[in-house]
Amino acid sequence: MNSKAADRVATGVFVAIAIVIVTILVGLFFYIFVNGFKYISFDFLTSPSSNVRAGGGIRDQLFNSFYILFLTMLITVPIGVGGGIYMAEYAKPGKVTDLIRTCIEVLSSLPSIVIGMFGLLIFVNTTGWGYTIIGGALALTIFNLPTMVRTTEDAIRAVPRDLKEASLALGVTHWHTIKTIILPAAFPSILTGAILAAGRVFGEAAALLFTAGLSTPRLDYMNLNPFSEQSPLNIFRPAETLAVHIWSVNTQGLIPDVNEVASGSSAVLVLSVLVFNLLARWIGSLIHKRVTATK
């Protein structure tokens, strides 16, 4: 086979792989949406779920998912970005840094069910909180932190060294250079990392089963006092998320419309992840354009 033919074959193989990937994605979306869209209605999104009768909605699960996502990112992003800055800018090469890096890698490869069991031990039993939103958010933080540290470190290392030197050569301190030059330049990659982490939080079920629980108390959305039992904002209440709900109605649901609820929930879940993704990217690019003065 001459080199020209080999080149053509290689191109063909890669195009085929690309087609397979796209087909799987499109097929999956198509399947989920075709099966789920017909069950999504205003009523479905705004009524509480039912335990035995048909016609339950996913209002509380949807809210719980977003609320846990918000809390998790609130904890993960500052610590993760801080850790990434440390690893990229301050950690001296050596045994300690290698040890930290190994820990991060091991932590990021732990199965989420194991993190769920650990969460049960620490955030549910040891603390005596029981199943809580904050317990779930902390478990998800453990799950996400390594990825966040890693992506931040990579993003910072990818910023050209020239920029850092240029700023230092002007008599600007290391920390101010990180704040005003390096982090803005690394922002798009850090944002991508955060979005990926958020997608994982949104779809995670295993780590939440034993930490945030399988039930939601009766919520009163008019009650905004975060210390009240009925308030949706209370972080010390159990909370079933959408992903957990899909799992639980499928495995132990007594309702007659299990399929409808599961399909509708799946479609809502995928749609939420998509919308969240696009929104975050759009806002991120607006911020980036503002900072870099590109139009």
Binding site: A169, L170, G171, V172, T292, T294
Partner: protein, 274 residues
């Protein structure tokens, strides 16, 4: 510009004075400077004086230690793991290689422009305001004034005055390099170090940068590393020839290029090696 030196009131270069005396016409005195990367010695004990308000060119083949020497003058080598220096570089009666030196304050006085234009991915205005804001200048009118003044001095003002808030990356390579020089000038340094500032530029941009450097020497002391010997001959007052970490010859540029006293220098400038 003597005032720039005297103006530095808040600058804190606290360290004990050294016995070596720097003649008033000189701004920097280097004594027995050695620089190591790990075990490898890159600069072998050199001594020279840098004259105030003049252009000093450092020439020599790649790897001869001239850039390493240049980067040690504002302690940029601190960023390289394993790099260390011995000997003395005296500036303002202080050995700036000392551990007690406030490196941040030092770099504000001894600015640097790099080989590859490296503007920040921000607007033209913000590129210059970056260092100023850190130095505590917050007032818009004051910032505006210094930005304009610096761009004027860097001969860039007329080309960018209508698009100060556009991205600096939209400028051409030559304009970017002049912006980097303007950014340095804005900090009101006394010394500007230039590390092959025009080697990445086309001939026309190069000519503009050279013209700019000659114009700057009445206000600043300039040390420039260059691979281009014509450039050294055109713009510098004194030239130092480096080879394998040694300072081979250091003299007035005219003398060094027309009548070098060392054979190696003659061979290098006539293109027999390097």
């Amino acid at each position: 510009m003597m005032t720039a030196v005297k103006e530095r009131t808040q600058v804190d270069l606290t360290v004990q004075p050294t016995p070596i005396e720097v003649k008033s016409e000189n701004i920097i005195a280097v004594r027995n400077l050695e620089i190591f990367y790990g075990d490898k010695r890159a600069v072998n004990g050199i001594s020279l004086d840098i004259k105030k308000n003049s252009v000093t060119a450092l020439i020599g083949p790649s790897g001869c230690g001239k850039s390493t020497f240049l980067r040690s003058i504002n302690r940029m080598n601190d960023l390289i793991p394993g790099a260390r220096a011995a000997g003395e570089i005296i500036y303002e009666d202080l050995n700036i290689l000392s551990q007690d030196i406030n490196v941040v304050a030092l770099r504000k006085e001894i600015g640097m422009v790099f080989q590859k234009p490296n503007p920040f991915p921000k607007s033209i205005y913000e590129n210059i305001a970056h260092g100023l804001k850190f130095a505590g200048i917050r007032k818009k009118t004051e910032l505006d004034e210094i930005v304009e003044e610096s761009l004027q001095k860097a001969a860039l003002w007329d080309e960018v005055k209508d698009r100060l808030h556009k991205s600096a990356l939209s400028l051409s390579g030559g304009q970017q390099q002049r912006l980097c020089i303007a950014r340095s000038i804005a900090m009101k340094p006394t010394v500007i170090l230039l590390d092959e500032p025009s080697s990445a530029l086309d001939p026309i941009s190069n000519a503009k940068v050279e013209e700019l450097i000659i114009g700057l020497k009445k206000d600043y002391s300039i040390i420039i590393v260059t691979h281009n010997m014509q450039q050294a001959a055109r713009i510098s007052d004194k030239t130092a020839f480096f080879l394998n970490g040694d300072l081979i010859e250091y003299d007035n540029t005219k003398k060094l290029f027309t009548n070098p006293s060392v054979k190696k220098t003659e061979e290098y400038i006539s293109g027999r090696f390097g």
